[in-house]
């Protein structure tokens, strides 16, 4: 090859198999021997992502909006290090984990989290967890009413960027392995699977088409981005949004792409005359007044409008500028959570109504 020729990007062929639904629990049980298996399950009236002890408890029939798997890469509370008389010890988590049953939007979110946490100075805690985590995602045959991934290309199914993707085809799954790690993992249990036939692919196509047709509404984040960068959206609009904000931080905690954290030190006695300090990090939210608070007591973002506007600007303007994609995958969790109805979908929708014609 001549010098200076662009290196051709290797397009890996998607490796596909068909897994009979009767074999799913056996397969997962086998995987659990080498990995901690995390999947959605029902706890009272909630759906939670948890380590699975009994395979039959996995709630495969749950709605699309299960809690974000962000928790397993960037936990709500994560011990970082301890400092004792014998020095500093690193508390990085490197458990091997398979997260089963998450949806395409969240896999898309993780791909963007990778870009954020691993670019520049890489975050060692995220890196260690990410390296050891594999996702088995489920294509959404039936999106929730709050979902708007279809217009963003972040769901309901993915063409690239997944580890293992499952299409529910009624009595069987069409399984796609999108990475080398995933291929190796599937390869170990090839005896459970068969090559897909023409009918399988026809059913897959039908599932894709019917799912896409079920999305109630298209939300155009690109339209919103343009309205903002064209200077059409006045501060009055953001003032109205801010007035509806309860400052609960729910949008930030639920968002699979909110990445901010705070760090705290706690002292405890590990033994007589052995004081240990544990340094941990925990989710923080730019919606809180104290988020930017300085040592002298100054609160640079005391006005609520600065904080609510910041959240939308971050996702609609800064994310595309710095990482090349919107900081929103259309998962709709903020729509479910926000008590003030100023979630991403509602605000973008309202922005369109007010400004798109002018």
């Amino acid at each position: 090859m001549k010098k200076n020729m662009p290196v051709p990007i290797k397009t890996e062929a998607v490796k596909e198999w068909v897994l009979d639904k009767n074999h799913l629990s056996y397969w997962l049980r086998q995987l659990r021997k080498d990995f901690e298996l995390v999947a959605p399950l029902r706890e009272r009236n909630d759906i939670v992502l948890k380590r699975i002890d009994r395979i039959h408890e996995i709630a495969l029939d749950c709605p699309a909006s299960i809690p974000s798997p962000k928790e397993f890469l960037f936990p709500q509370f994560e011990p970082m290090l301890t400092k004792g008389t014998d020095g500093i010890s690193d508390l990085r988590d490197g458990s091997k984990r398979v997260i089963f049953g998450v949806r395409s939007c969240d896999v898309s979110a993780v791909n963007l989290l990778d870009k954020f946490y691993l670019s520049g100075i890489a975050d060692p805690y995220y890196e260690s967890r990410r390296k050891n985590t594999l996702f088995i995602s489920l294509v959404c045959n039936v999106p929730d009413g709050t979902c708007f991934c279809a217009g963003l290309g972040t769901g309901p199914y993915l063409k690239t960027g997944y580890d293992i993707q499952l299409y529910d085809l009624g009595d069987r799954y069409l399984l796609q392995a999108g990475s080398k790690d995933a291929e190796r993992l599937v390869g170990r249990h090839r005896f459970l699977m068969r090559k897909p036939s023409k009918t399988d692919h026809e059913d897959q196509y039908e599932a894709q088409a019917s799912s896409k047709a079920m999305f109630a509404e298209r939300i155009s984040l690109e339209g919103a981005r343009q309205m903002i960068t064209d200077g059409k959206v006045a501060d009055d609009f953001w003032q109205d949004v801010a007035e509806r904000c309860f400052e609960c931080g729910g949008c930030v905690y639920e968002c699979p792409l909110c990445t901010c954290f705070s760090v705290i030190d706690r002292k405890y006695n590990a033994g007589p005359a052995d004081e240990q300090v544990e340094r941990s990090r925990l989710w923080d939210a730019c919606m809180f007044k104290g988020f930017t608070g300085m040592a002298g007591g100054a609160l640079p973002a005391e006005k609520r409008i600065l904080r609510t506007k910041r959240w939308f600007y971050h996702k609609l303007i800064y994310y595309p500028e710095t990482l090349g994609a919107f900081g929103c995958t259309g998962c709709g969790r903020c729509t479910i959570t926000c008590p003030g109805k100023i979630d991403m979908a509602s605000v973008v929708h309202r922005m369109g109504n007010e400004y798109s014609k002018g």
């Binding site: 040592a295 973002a301 800064y318």
Partner: protein
Amino acid sequence: MNANNVYTPSEALIEEVITLSRNVNLYTVKTKEEIKWLPGQFFMVSVFGFGEAPISVTSSAREPLKFCIKKVGHVTGAIHGLRAGDTIGIRGPYGNAFPLDVARGRDVVIIAGGLGIAPLRPLIHEFMENGKDYARVFLLSGSKTPADVIYSEECALWEKRGIRVTLTVDCPDDSWDVCTGLVTAHLDKVEADFQNAASYICGPEVMIEAAMKAVSARGIPEERIITTLEAHMKCGVGKCGHCYMGPKYICTDGPVFSYKELRRLAERFGKGHGPQDDPMWGY
């Protein structure tokens, strides 16, 4: 200690503590490994059990590592409780550095407000040590009261080595016989060739804004007006999100910015859109 974990501080020994004013101490710190830094960079300084805070380096590359720390909050309060022989944790250096090329061959106007002199000190040393690369160097340093003036003895040394120093306080007492009033009020005394000068400014936010406007009005182009900002930070490496300013993070994109960059950010994202509320964004 783990070398590949950026969040793990290295232990450093406090060799000397010097009281500079009623609430400002100068800490000389010794690290196990040799650390290099540039003027304008900062370190995350830890006191285990209290937390971490971003602190700029106040010593030049030829000196030992020194931090000039004012007692203002939780962590700095804890640091003030330490004495020579105690250990702290440090990690860094982080952030960009003061650009020097904008000043080569030109007059330099350095404006400091209060503790703002601390990060500017290594810069002053650079101008003294490589004096032939720069034309005249002016230092305007303002403080609240005579009791808050730091580095006054060093100012005398700097003056001997060719820096034209003007000290001023807002609220003078009987002992004060030099200038009074805000630093910007004394710019007229600076006989620099402003059209062909560079300026470095650090201090409280309102003072930075006023000083940038003032030197800009006298003719220094916006790209040669340099300042360094501070913000609440938890990580120092662009991940925790606390020091945002529009799409930028002060820790990794700054802390040093030019007036031009700041104005462009303000134009694009409007007034009142950084952590810096109205004063900073009202250019």
